[in-house]
Amino acid sequence: MIPTQFDYLAPTTVEEALSALATHGDDAKILAGGQSLLPVLRMRLNAPEMVIDLGRIESLRGIRDDGDAIVIGAMTPHSVVGKDPLVKEHALLIHKAVEHLADEQIRHRGTFGGALAHADPAGDLGAPALALDASFVIAGPGGTRTVPAAEFFVDLFETAIGEDELLTEVRVPKHTGWGAHYEKFVRVAHQWPIVAVAATVKGSAGSLEDVKIGLTNMGSTPLRAKATEDALRGGGDLATAAQLADQDTNPPSDLNGEASYRRHLAKVLTRRAVTAASGG
């Protein structure tokens, strides 16, 4: 199907994009890489009057070292994030999650910030961002503000980004030397995960110093498996700790699985993810 008619702007600076947003407000939709937006427009699930394309804003692309964090520009394509040496060294969990996100063509077009701002609960980047305690830099008419991951994801497809604001970059605290694994459960290739678990671990099996675990598609937003983390930090064994992975989650029931099945998956995948992340 063909999208409904819309007007189109391709600003070249963040300031221009913000002023376009201020003018068109509710009637406008932001286009990043378009790999989620275009299918939505084609299916006519959304019919904006104006599409503002961020693809010409060079300052939103790229990855840089900023002391105790790495900073990923919102419009950096997944394929670039996946190959970036800084990401691999300091945020291995993101490297691992991006590797198997969608498929190669989608990774060439889709963007890191676009996927996070879309906030699909089955998206592959939310749980790693949450597990790594990333923070989100949001530009608006009054300047920029920084929102921690724990406050960024508000609900299904809803984030802390206001109507007149843009996500410009994501700051990821360095987790240098941490092991990581993204365990994704899919029914067929290049599908959204039914459930996925993002785990990153300091130390190795048997001498775990710290562990952070994010859950994909176990609620309307990405979640942390806090009970499992606490049990492991307290020296608990993994098999027992993983049984707590579904605590305080609210998984959906849909064609791919009932909520109870997702709870089961969360426990199994948490065990596998932590085992792999700690080199077990």
Binding site: T4, Y8, P39, R42, D53, H108, H190
Partner: protein
């Protein structure tokens, strides 16, 4: 209408298009390049894969206006990017290995395989299968397609390449 300028299969083109026009529509309906096909129209199947500034994209999932200023290569212009013959080595390999049945997924399969080998010139069989996971084939079961990509990467001949995956001992397959 928005003005776009781009290079498609080596030729400069300029047009006024509606912002909602998809790149694949532009290629097929405005330029008559029907070698690029629409399969699923949901960005799943990969049949519409073309190269945009050197990397593979699903052209049903890109607006023509987003390609403004870019270089597009379709299956129709692929051979010309490689000097030496009417067919690109990947096209030769697909023909040699019979990497198709109905042929509908073939343009996208070939474009993705070429882009994939550029990033990973000597892939393992497993890496090939992952590399083309965004392209669906409903006929072949992928075996001959994987063989074709192996052949194009200079690994194995068309009969023995990938034979282990279908349980045929290499000696038998080459005899």
């Amino acid at each position: 209408m928005t003005r776009i300028n781009l290079t498609v299969d080596g030729a400069k083109v300029a047009d006024d298009v509606e912002p909602r026009m998809l790149l694949v529509q532009y290629l097929r309906e405005k330029l008559g390049k029907t070698g690029t096909v629409v399969g699923c129209d949901t960005s799943n199947c990969g049949a519409c894969t073309v190269h945009l500034d050197g990397t593979s994209v699903k052209s049903c999932n890109v607006l023509a206006v987003q390609a403004d200023g870019s270089e597009v290569t379709t299956i129709e212009g692929l051979a010309a990017t490689y000097d030496g013959g009417d067919l690109h080595p990947m096209q030769e390999a697909f023909r040699e290995c019979h990497g198709l049945q109905c042929g509908y997924c073939t343009p996208g399969m070939i474009m993705q395989s070429v882009a994939f080998l550029k990033e990973n010139p000597k892939p393992t069989e497993e890496e090939i299968r992952v590399g083309i996971e965004g392209n669906l084939c409903r006929c072949t079961g992928y075996h001959n397609i994987v063989r074709a990509v192996q052949l194009a990467s200079g690994q194995g001949d068309h009969q023995s390449a990938g034979a282990s995956t279908v349980g045929v001992p290499a000696e038998e397959a080459t005899s």
